[in-house]
């Protein structure tokens, strides 16, 4: 089902005033400079990190009419859209949102002409207003406006035309515009997550491939669970999912076509194959294959074909992840005697170790922003950590008993991983901000592991 997601209005972001832009001329030009030509000084922000207060009242409508959306009429959809935006911003740190449940509802006319006095009285620094209109052809038009209440200025605006079944995507797009504008980061709310849904007792777990929106909505099971599924990865164009399946007890890598609900075997081999990853442009797949006791990393065209062997050390080389520019690969190897993180060029040359933190370092993943590598650090507990690509600036992001397998949100700011509870062995999916703050659980219908985030949807 294709649709057009059109930017309806121009995005008008106000940019910081840089030195080359002209300021209004002063009444008294500094023709007589003081001793040093002006005052100097400094001010430091010493407060604890504060989340930004932002008010998100229900979106208005010009006319409350029924729609085909699961959220109901245009008016009801306006309320639901504000709720989705509020949940997106609350769950991802940086913001202290107040949603439509506790706020007065602006009228359609006020959406583009807010009553700032009302909102500053409620101690909201930022204000989101919007509208939902029926387009007449069954589609919905959603407008989204962000205001700085203290400065009484519009910061940005955007709009989209969506089919009624995609009303949540319009809400995520609006949350993305707000998040990007106020954090400086790229967007990530309008995306999908693939993961492994787990059910059953600890010794006979059923593991099925499942997909959902970034907030857990629109959940769908993809495999039946008859064969254990592991380590899924969305292709960069969202059309396929790469994953590992233990059909008949043999681990094999499959590419699943999301729309056609069919799959094909990628690697024709009787040897066990593991840890499949896409290249950033989707043309290649990295995977690991075990021959005898020796596991190495290979690269194969995603359309299938001849594989190129990239590593050749005795022992286990596994889990290659490309840098976003495709020039380098980070991977895990035990060639030094314990699991550690290595970086090499995309052709397999210049393999060198980067993790020197004591303990073991495993499951590395290069950030889509390129500036960090996330990995699991094992020293007693399993903890999620990040480092710069050279191996410096190592920081822990979590501190629980068993956290592992970090993957990145499309903007390189949020990390997703799974946490196993001591004793019960139950797995759940969690997210944490790159600063280590805002650790929270992503709710799934059943237990979950191996979460992987797809890119921003166009």
């Amino acid at each position: 089902m294709k649709f057009r997601l059109l930017p309806l209005l121009l995005l008008a972001a106000s940019a910081p005033v840089l030195a080359q832009q002209t300021a209004a001329p002063t009444a008294t030009p500094s023709a007589q400079p003081t001793e040093e030509g002006g005052l100097s000084g400094a001010v430091s922000d010493e407060s604890d990190w504060q989340d930004l207060g932002i008010a998100i009242p229900a979106f208005a409508t010009n006319e409350d009419v029924p729609t085909q959306a699961s959220s109901g009429s245009t008016g009801a959809t306006g309320f639901a859209v504000a709720q989705v935006i509020t949940a997106d911003l609350r769950n991802n740190g940086l913001f202290k949102p107040v949603g439509p449940d506790s706020l007065p509802r602006p009228s359609f006319e006020q959406v583009q002409a807010p009553e700032f006095a009302t909102w500053s009285g409620r101690s909201a620094e930022m204000l989101v207003q919007g509208y939902v209109r029926a387009s007449g052809d069954g589609n919905l038009t959603v407008g989204c406006y962000l205001y700085d209440v203290a400065l009484k200025q519009q910061l940005t605006k955007a709009g989209w035309v969506v089919p009624p079944s995609d009303w949540r995507r319009a809400a995520h797009k609006c949350a993305d515009v707000i998040y990007s504008r106020l954090s400086g980061e790229s967007p990530f709310f309008d995306s999908r997550i693939a993961y492994i849904a787990e059910t059953g007792p600890k010794d006979r777990r059923m593991k099925r491939l499942a997909i959902m929106d970034s907030d857990g909505a629109n959940h769908r099971f993809v495999t039946t669970g008859q064969a254990t599924a592991l380590t899924p990865r969305f292709s960069p164009d969202y059309k396929s999912i790469l994953y590992l399946s233990y059909l008949n007890g043999n681990p094999r890598i499959y590419i699943y076509d999301v729309e056609r609900n069919t799959q094909r075997l990628l690697v024709q081999s009787t040897n066990p194959t593991f840890a499949p990853r896409w290249s950033p442009d989707g043309r290649w797949v990295l995977y690991s294959m075990a021959i005898g006791g020796n596991t190495d990393i290979y690269r194969i065209p995603s359309a299938g074909g001849t594989a190129l062997k990239l590593t050749d050390s005795p022992g286990i080389d596994i889990g290659g992840s490309f840098s976003p520019d495709g020039s380098k690969i980070v991977f895990e190897s035990d060639r030094s005697g314990s699991q550690q993180v290595y970086v090499m060029n995309a052709d397999g040359s210049d393999q060198h170790r980067v993790s020197f933190f004591g303990g073991r370092s495993a499951t590395p993943e290069w950030s889509p922003r390129g500036d960090q590598i996330a990995f699991t650090h094992i020293a007693g507990n399993f903890r999620i950590a990040v480092m710069s690509p050279g191996g410096g600036d190592m920081r822990y992001l979590t501190d629980s008993w068993q956290d592992e397998a970090p993957t990145w949100a499309p903007n390189g700011r949020i990390i997703q991983f799974f946490r196993t509870a001591r004793g019960s062995g139950k797995a759940s999916i969690w997210q944490v901000d790159l600063t280590g703050r805002n650790e929270r659980r992503l709710p799934t219908p059943v237990d979950g592991s191996d979460p992987a985030w797809g890119p921003i949807r166009p």
């Binding site: 106000s14 940019a15 910081p16 005033v17 840089l18 030195a19 832009q21 300021a23 209004a24 001329p25 002063t26 009444a27 008294t28 500094s30 003081t34 040093e36 030509g37 002006g38 005052l39 100097s40 000084g41 400094a42 001010v43 430091s44 922000d45 010493e46 407060s47 604890d48 990190w49 504060q50 740190g93 940086l94 700085d148 203290a150 400065l151 106020l182 954090s183 400086g184 980061e185 790229s186 922003r369 390129g370 500036d371 960090q372 990040v386 710069s388 600036d393 700011r413 790159l434 600063t435 703050r437």
Partner: protein, 103 residues
């Protein structure tokens, strides 16, 4: 006298100055310049002189850092400063906005 004036400006800016969050964001520094009218209100907009401390990890926040610094000046204005020393404070040539982690 000048340090008393810059101290007064700093005190009035402090409650309005909130640095953006992010990896390495505490390394960012924005230097602004602005001019003031005799009544302490802003004459024109503050401008960025330069920024320091930008790394690959915090580059995404650099624009926001400058914007928040400018916003702090806009919200703190009109500044409460002694009119008899207007010539000394009518132009702020270099004011540094940064973050200090409180321990």
């Amino acid at each position: 006298m000048r340090s008393a004036l810059s101290g007064a400006i700093s005190r009035q800016l402090k409650p309005k100055w909130v640095a953006p969050q992010g990896a390495d964001a505490e390394k960012l520094v924005t230097i602004l310049t602005w001019s003031l009218n005799r009544d302490g209100s802003l004459a024109g907009s503050p401008r960025v002189v330069r920024q320091d401390g930008i790394t690959d990890a915090n580059r995404a926040q650099a624009g926001r850092h400058a914007e928040q610094a400018i916003r702090a000046v806009q919200l703190a204005a009109p500044f409460d400063l002694p009119e008899e020393y207007y010539d000394a404070w009518k132009r702020v040539a270099e004011f540094r906005f940064d973050r200090k982690l409180s321990q």
